[in-house]
Symmetry: C2
Subunit: 447 residues, 2 copies
């Protein structure tokens, strides 16, 4: 786990005013990474760091005299259109660059001479002027299923006597997901077609999904990998993690119900997955760690998934909010409406346990692999991370304040995730937004 150092000092301010604005997602204590270019341009995308309302262009910065040594080498690796090489440099390089950027952006350290400030100012691009692309070439995408509150609700919705699968408390359950359909925030995707059993029918139909849903997840980026056939000890698991973004695992529940046994979801998930552009580093998250606990009545983890230091700080208090913006709300210029709030601290398995379990059979993780945390639902019904849970599979539709109701997503609905961390004595840091929009299904004539 990362340590708390000068970069987390709540008293630190930046010479850039927007970084000190109350409620900003991107104070100098955050410094998340993305890949961007000027919107609508043909520029080669490159790495950038968020500060206030600006993006610090790391390709431009590595052409200045502001950095040297390992920090310069790390910034140079961010000048590429994907951050895989930067991720592969490992945690010392990540931390060194973070520290150097903090020193350059922080008001009143030795590094912030007037000429440095001028040079850094020349590398800033206003956030409203940029567009984001996927931050890495994702080699493999793995989606977990590790919130026991989500698992309990879903199991009961599928079968009134349904229980959490018996392996759930032993195995950080995961399945491999589809890489090609992962898109960056702003993704618009067609409602998928698929096979489903309609009520009362014993044979399936092929047609547009009628039970489209979102899943509130975090996207966990593997930084440095492991060799095929080797494992990753729990104590070192987070050295392999670069950082965390927001992830929407869009799901077609009717297709999923029919196809899922015995090999898991396929069409129900592989039409679209949306990630937010900004990756908040594990270093930035250091102050928001929480003890990882498990109810005493539950089976405790097998030894490879258990350690004292993990119990002390294995969880992370990442607050999350899901909002909806329907077509009618957009037309009426109403703001998106929050539907649920929760925190990642309730998760049954931690980031470190997911990483260690993933490699426990010798599977090689690689820089730029993406892990979905699994749907994040808290203990209360209002903390559910999917619409199917909030609306009890259509039995209790969600009532919106403009009079609309939702059991599942409709065409034109946008779903917006936000995430942030806050703790007494520390700054608030945020993840930005993750939004995606449902388009109507492809019609027969468009084929």
């Amino acid at each position: 786990m990362r340590t708390i150092d000068r970069t987390h000092d709540a008293a630190a301010t930046s010479w850039l005013g927007s970084a000190n604005a109350p409620g900003t997602d991107f104070p100098v204590q955050n410094l998340p990474f993305a890949v961007f270019r000027r919107a609508g341009s043909r520029e080669t995308p490159r790495g950038g760091v968020a500060i206030g309302n600006e993006v610090l262009d790391l390709a431009a910065l590595s052409g200045t005299q502001c950095l040297d040594g390992l920090a310069l080498q790390a910034a140079q690796s961010c000048a590429a259109p994907v951050l895989n090489d930067f991720f592969a440099l490992g945690p010392v390089a990540w931390r060194t660059l973070r520290g150097a950027l903090f020193d350059l952006l922080h008001k009143g350290t030795a590094a912030t001479t007037p000429s440095h400030v001028e040079a850094v100012r020349g590398c800033l691009v206003p956030q409203p002027d940029v567009e984001y692309v996927l931050p890495v070439r994702i080699g493999d995408y793995t989606d977990f299923y590790t919130s026991i509150h989500h698992a309990r609700t879903i199991s009961r919705l599928l079968d009134p006597k349904g229980e959490v699968p018996r392996n759930f408390q032993w195995v950080p359950t995961a399945y491999h997901g589809r890489v090609s359909s992962i898109g960056i925030a702003g993704q618009q995707f067609r409602r998928p077609h698929g096979q489903a059993l309609r009520d009362g029918s014993s044979t399936p139909e092929y047609g547009p999904s009628r039970r489209l849903d979102y899943e509130l997840e975090l996207g966990i980026y593997v930084g440095a990998g492991n060799a095929l056939g080797e494992r990753i000890a729990l104590s070192r698991a987070e050295d392999h993690v670069f950082g965390i973004s927001l992830l929407n695992d869009w799901s077609a529940r009717d297709i999923q119900a029919w196809e899922m046994a015995p090999l898991g979801p396929f069409h129900a998930k592989n039409f679209a997955t949306t990630v937010s552009p900004w990756i908040v580093t594990m270093d930035a998250l250091a102050p928001y760690r929480k003890p990882w606990t498990r109810p005493a009545a539950d089976p405790q983890p097998l030894p490879y998934l258990e350690s004292e230091s993990h119990r002390a700080g294995g969880a992370i208090d990442i607050r999350l909010e899901v909002s909806i913006e329907t077509h009618r709300m957009r037309e009426a210029r109403l703001p998106p409406e929050p539907m649920s709030r929760t925190s990642f601290r309730h998760h049954y398995w931690s980031v470190a346990q997911m990483v260690t379990h993933h490699a426990a059979g010798g599977c090689n993780l690689q820089a730029g692999d993406l892990l979905g945390s699994g749907t994040i639902s808290g203990p209360e019904p209002a903390e559910a991370g999917a619409l199917m849970e909030l609306a009890l599979s259509g039995k209790k539709p969600v009532q919106l304040s403009n009079g609309e109701r939702r059991s599942f997503l409709e065409d034109g609905d946008a779903i917006i995730f936000q995430g942030w961390c806050e703790r007494e004595g520390f700054s608030r840091i945020g993840f930005g937004f993750n939004h995606g929009l449902v388009l109507p299904a492809l019609s027969q004539s468009e084929e």
Copy 2:
């Protein structure tokens, strides 16, 4: 489906003697593609085509005067260390290059002037002198479950009253697999660790798999992709397929049994998958097509998975053989021993149906994606494509002629797949070998 043309003429011979040897996998009618370099060298890998005992180096060939037009452009795209760009050119380019290579290698066509023969000879590298690498940068790997004979046997082995899943006859079932652990023939991998429930225990243990198995599959390479949100009509599905190799989907049955419900196999599969180097093109397979049939008592496919021309020739008669070479056999210099034989013609779902179903929800396939056919088992018990089936889950171990018996794989076992096509009036063409070796599990001290 591809048409039969001059490149399939059984009377055609090559000026290269080894291409005309009886029983060769690589006559002039085959011309499969791989990526290779001289063994032990630091050469940049590049595309090659098998002819007799040689590899025709396509990077070298594109530097000669032997090709022009689209054939030259296609050959140039094969000069790269991966064939993704070549695959993305599409079926006309593939067929044009195939035709041009046939004309150059065939004895007695206008293209085979003495100077051309001399130039082509200069581009040949003996197969024993080369090593192979993965032929493409695999974007996504999808593994199917589409042999009803395999599904029936496995269902009964797991539960005496077990039946084929009820969606099996409607859905070409598939799950996403792991890309990073896919290796080329010759792959040696450690026996994986994982969680399993041992007999009589109600809590799982973590340790080396005791039920390691192989699965006989074909590896189907996507040639040209589809855009996200679009579909692929069954009639055009094979235009998106470049060709087929052999694939071993190594499986840990004890880990699989414990982890699989509800999201499918993960650790049980993601430690290693082995593909053979040579990709036999769909063009080369044209003569070996068979009608695609389904028992009249079974549900017939939904309209998007059904057509008259598909019924006429949707199946392919690819003969397959699995052999084992144990450590003791290797020590005693005994040859590998065949354990089973079958054909892909028995498969319940076809290549075209797999491709169409994969894209039916709008999932975008990309050049270089890999599809595993699913375990290929024929109707007879001796045609089983996995050791678990052959040995009835350990109830009837396979007896080898040197006195050894196998219920599951032991350390030091090598598994070898071979594949070939033959039909009266046409040449025999082969797939070469796919072999892989089980190494002992990592010990605690090696961590």
